[in-house]
Symmetry: C2
Subunit: 104 residues, 2 copies
C-alpha cells in the first residue's frame, strides 16, 4: 500500500523516527529521552493526522508487528516501544547505535 | 451535576478508586501496583463508557483539577496520577494510608 511505502521511506531517510501520540505519557517519555541525549528525532503524532492516524497505526503493525505507541525506529531498524528504548539506553546500547549513524 | 454526585459517591464508598483507560500504560502501571500490594481497587475505564467517558473526565477535572488519567482516589481523597501514586509508594507513605482504611 502507498502508506506502507511512505513509512518505509520515512524510516529509511530519517535516523531516528518516533510514531507517537501527543497525550500519551509513554510517548512523552521516549521523546524526552531523545531530547535529553541531544538527538533530533522525527516525531509523527498519530493523533494529529485525522483519519490517516489510525491507518498509519495499522500499517506500522503490519510492518513491525507492533500496534502500540510509541513506535521507535533507529537507522531504519525497528527498535520497539518506550520500555524497549529506555532499556537499551540503560544498558548503554542506545548511544553507540546513534554514534554509528553520526547523530550523537 | 448528577455525574458529579456519582463521582463523589463512588470515591466516598470505595476505599481505592482508579479512573483509567484500558489502553494507557500509565493507567496499567497504577492498576498493577495496587494489584501487586494486594489492594482491590475499583477501576473505572473511561474509554469503555461510550459518550459518558469524556463527560466523566471533564467532571473529574472540575472536582480535582486533574484532567488526565489515571486519576486515583484513596479514602475519598484525591491522590493524583500515576507518578504521584508511585512516588507515595516509594516514599513508604502509600501502605500506611491504606492500612488506616483497613484495606491492606
Ligand atoms: N511496553 C510498551 C507499551 C505500549 C503501549 O501499551 N502503548 C499504548 C499507549 S501507552 C497503546 O499504544 N495503546 C493503544 C493505542 O493508544 O492505540 C511500550 O513500552 O511502549
Ligand atoms: N504525570 C501524570 C501524567 C498523566 C497524563 O499525561 N495522562 C495522559 C495519558 S498517559 C492523559 O490523560 N492524556 C489525556 C487523555 O488521555 O485524555 C501521571 O503520572 O498520571
Ligand atoms: S496513553 Fe497513558 S501512557 Fe500512553
Amino acid at each position: 500500500a502507498r502508506l506502507e511505502e511512505t513509512v518505509k521511506k520515512t524510516v529509511a531517510e530519517n535516523p531516528v523516527v518516533v510514531y507517537s501520540k501527543t497525550w500519551c505519557s509513554y510517548s512523552m517519555e521516549v521523546k524526552a529521552l531523545f531530547k535529553r541525549i541531544g538527538v533530533d528525532a522525527l516525531v509523527i503524532e498519530l493523533d494529529q493526522l485525522g483519519p490517516q492516524g489510525p491507518q498509519l497505526q495499522k500499517v506500522l503493525e503490519r510492518l513491525t508487528g507492533q500496534f502500540t505507541v510509541p513506535n521507535v525506529f533507529i537507522g531504519g531498524k525497528h527498535i520497539g516501544g518506550c520500555t524497549d528504548t529506555v532499556k537499551l539506553y540503560r544498558k548503554g546500547e542506545l548511544t553507540p547505535m546513534l554514534s554509528e549513524l553520526n547523530i550523537n
